[in-house]
Symmetry: C2
Subunit: 503 residues, 2 copies
């Protein structure tokens, strides 16, 4: 049986068609975000299986909408239309995403989805046993398919760039390699110098009640400018930020009753992401430009609030009254300086997510070097543990006792996220450049923090970063915001002051 | 420009294609349910506008999927396939829904959506002013379009049946008219007799803290068998139940610190809906049969737990220890009998949602008579207030001081929900029939309640109703469950005992 469908297209208002198309895509993205948010913050355990199918269905409908054949005519008509700068940019961004989606063969999408799902399952099961051979077999399939993806979506040249482009449009491996090399060289002596920093004080025996920590999270959100009428704060196993739609930006945190510092830094980190999204212009609602231009740009905001505000002595002095109000018992005979020291202590360690601000970027440098070699075909999946452990020892002076605390510690590669890790350090680099600029603009950033001038700090970020949404790529936006191209200088300067505070 | 798409269909496994199609529909339904749940229970106010668009987009994609042209071939192939009884039923139910969707012209769908949206807006604005002429103008458009819909989707004959069919498949206006007439005639003397019931005791001065009421809601849920690992309980302005997917059934309640009875009855009502959905067989997950066969069937469950359990003296005696534990101060010198009297007092009143169990069905009879006349063309929208007020006086002896407390009190008609109101009374009728059967089966229902034998009561419902999902239409399921066809007898018998309790 053969069905012949004849569709006559007659596009009278291509911009309207474009807005309708991208609005549907935005609705599907926002809906997917809500399905994910709810899964992490509320969904009952027995709902997991159906939720996974729902998220797959919404992703599939998003892909189907993205590659809708009749959109070719809309984009062609827009090529002839007279558009303003924002419209032109929106069309360019959407066209880029559509081209990428259309270049992915459906068979590859399906095989990747299956291989990732299988690899995550194997990872969950094999990691506790540190069974690298079992993991390697599943990971080999993912890496092979990601290399095929790079081939399919790239424009020739460095295959890694095709993967990086998904997360960090406008940056290339050849831009990142010298920066990571520079970082490695200049952070090494800082790690050595950190041995002189006094150890963080012991908090044992003090209890920081969960309910008070949640109340504090709300107070901190309000302090830095988070608008609760356009968002919410919840608890989840892993803190994250998500926006199901314009006017609705949510973040989560986690609390540990033995230590308040993790919650406070998580709130500052996630509030940084959330403030960014709350600062997008209302005219971008449901549109292509209602987003950050890259993950690195997004991470620049979370790292700015976490590291350049949350890890300063001035911040802990400023919030001391809040801490005493929420934790009247735990704060007895405790100076805010002690909590600051816990927030800023430096100590080489094995696990990225527990790493301090100084050694963190070495964890990323290691992953960047390894995944670049994997995608280039210079390193085999079997060689990963040795490559990992040797680099770890070289950069940080520690050696994982097993693969569980080494090459198997992150879920990212199992999920097919290759080209993603560098965005964490890109965020740190831009955060440091922005902090340098804010310091000059505000007449001393730490003084502004200690005085609680968060409205001014937020206004600075709204003006330089948030108001742009995705109206330009990150390198261009950051050059305008900080006057500089991406480099290690600002971050190394900042980390030097962390290790050897100016007296 | 003309695009010619040639699709060769070659259906090797039509059942698999069918399962994939209906699975996508189920995923979209569940996703829509989550969008709605979140809107009522958590979404920040500024997210409302985008959320409305998202819900429209998901509904539109559901419609697009429902009428997918290639499904004709799948259904045709299934007509030749050898299917078991459940497969055959699933295909029949899906085919019925698809036929209905395909009979709705796209222009009518769009006009109805706009007219409903406009009418709700006008209603919200005009109701406080009791401005019926403003409302009538918007309502006239909705009614005219609903009559067009009845014409489009019906099979000729009584146009109201085409609307009723959406909510109550298998029942016709000609079945309902004699039942409502019978109810009116037999409830009238009960309302008169209710004047002899002693008035409910005064609770003023006692405080029932919100947090304790929420904790009680969870305890009551657990008491009647609600599985928290497959659901959750939240707060919202209007209590409701929703299931975003198999294994995930949620209900909400509301609390008033001056009176605990509303919360307790809301929990019993919504838990009735939720227990029903938690009792659907796991093999129906993501399938066509994972649903109640009608709204009346669903309401039979909520009304059973609310009225036949929650409004009995035995129930209040059974939960007295729970009440004393949660409200140690408010319960001082208060017998559970006093709360039972508040839960079961009878008093004619103007507002349906505040009505007692006895007069409630007269509110529905009034609406059924009016909407039947509207759709038949026997009553004009301009005549509604007079028709309403006269019937109200005739049935309940009260006359609305203004349209705000009369014909404008409900949102349903503005939302285009015509043919929906009767399902409330159908639920009450079936609930009473089920309670009669349970009474005989369990050797006295109220004794079982007072003894806390909720596991047995739930097992009775699981067996007679829940386990069926949507594997047959409601009249057939209820005939098998209760041995009787739908009639006023059981409900009138129950209401007689409410008004004149057996001594």
């Amino acid at each position: 049986l053969t069905i012949i469908a004849v569709v006559a297209t007659n596009i009278t208002d291509p911009w309207n068609e474009f807005v309708s198309w991208t609005g549907t895509l935005a609705d599907l993205n926002g809906t997917g975000a809500l399905l994910g948010w709810d899964r992490e913050t509320g969904m009952p355990p027995r709902g997991a299986q159906t939720r996974a199918r729902q998220m797959g269905t919404i992703a599939g409908l998003h892909h189907r909408e993205m590659v809708r054949p009749d959109i070719d005519d809309v984009l062609a008509a827009l090529g002839q239309a007279s558009l303003d700068a924002e419209q032109t940019r929106a069309v360019a961004v959407a066209t880029r995403a559509r081209r990428r989606a259309m270049r992915m063969p459906e068979s590859l999408v399906r095989e990747l989805s299956e291989a990732r799902s299988r690899c995550v399952t194997v990872w969950l099961e094999a990691r506790p046993r540190a069974d690298y051979p079992a993991f390697a077999e599943a990971l080999r399939a993912v890496v092979a398919l990601k290399r095929q993806e790079a081939q399919a979506v790239g424009d020739g040249g460095e295959p890694y760039d095709a993967l990086l482009e998904e997360f960090e449009p406008g940056l290339r491996a050849k831009d990142l390699e010298p920066i990571f090399a520079d970082l490695r060289a200049r952070i090494a002596p800082l790690v050595a110098a950190a041995h002189d920093v006094p150890p963080a004080p012991d908090l044992s025996g003090r209890v920081w009640p969960a309910a008070a920590q949640v109340a504090l999270a709300h107070d901190l959100g309000a302090l830095v400018g988070f608008d609760a009428s356009g968002g919410m704060i919840a608890l989840s196993a892993h803190p994250f930020t998500s926006s199901p739609g314009f006017g609705d930006v949510r973040f989560s945190t986690r609390v540990n009753e033995a230590d308040p510092v993790g919650n406070i830094l998580a709130v500052m980190h996630e509030a940084g992401h959330a403030l960014y999204e709350q600062g997008f212009p209302e005219r971008y609602a449901r549109g292509v430009l209602l987003d950050a231009p890259s993950l690195g740009a997004h991470e620049s905001q979370s790292r700015f609030w976490e590291n350049h505000i949350g890890r300063t002595a001035g911040f802990w002095r400023h919030i001391a009254p809040l801490l005493r109000a929420h934790f009247p018992e735990a704060m007895v005979d405790l100076e805010p300086q002690a909590l600051f020291q816990r927030a800023s202590s430096v100590q080489p360690s094995l696990i990225r997510v527990d790493a301090d601000e100084v050694t963190y970027n070495l964890h990323i440098a290691l992953r960047f070097e390894i995944e670049l070699a994997l995608i280039r075909g210079d390193l085999d999946v079997d060689e990963l543990p040795t490559a990992w452990d040797d680099r770890m020892h070289e950069m940080l002076g520690v050696r994982p006792p097993s693969a569980a605390d080494g090459v198997m510690q992150d879920i990212h590669w199992a999920e097919g996220l290759i080209g993603y890790f560098p965005t964490y350090t890109i965020g740190n680099l831009y955060a440091a450049q922005l902090a340098e600029t804010a310091d000059a603009t505000l007449g001393g950033l730490e003084a502004a923090i200690e005085a609680g001038r968060f409205t001014e700090i937020l206004a600075f970020m709204r003006d330089r970063v948030h108001c742009h949404g995705r109206d330009r790529d990150t390198p261009e936006m950051m050059r305008a915001a900080t006057g500089k191209d991406l480099s290690a200088d600002a971050l190394v300067g900042h980390l030097s002051r962390v290790v050897q505070p100016p007296s």
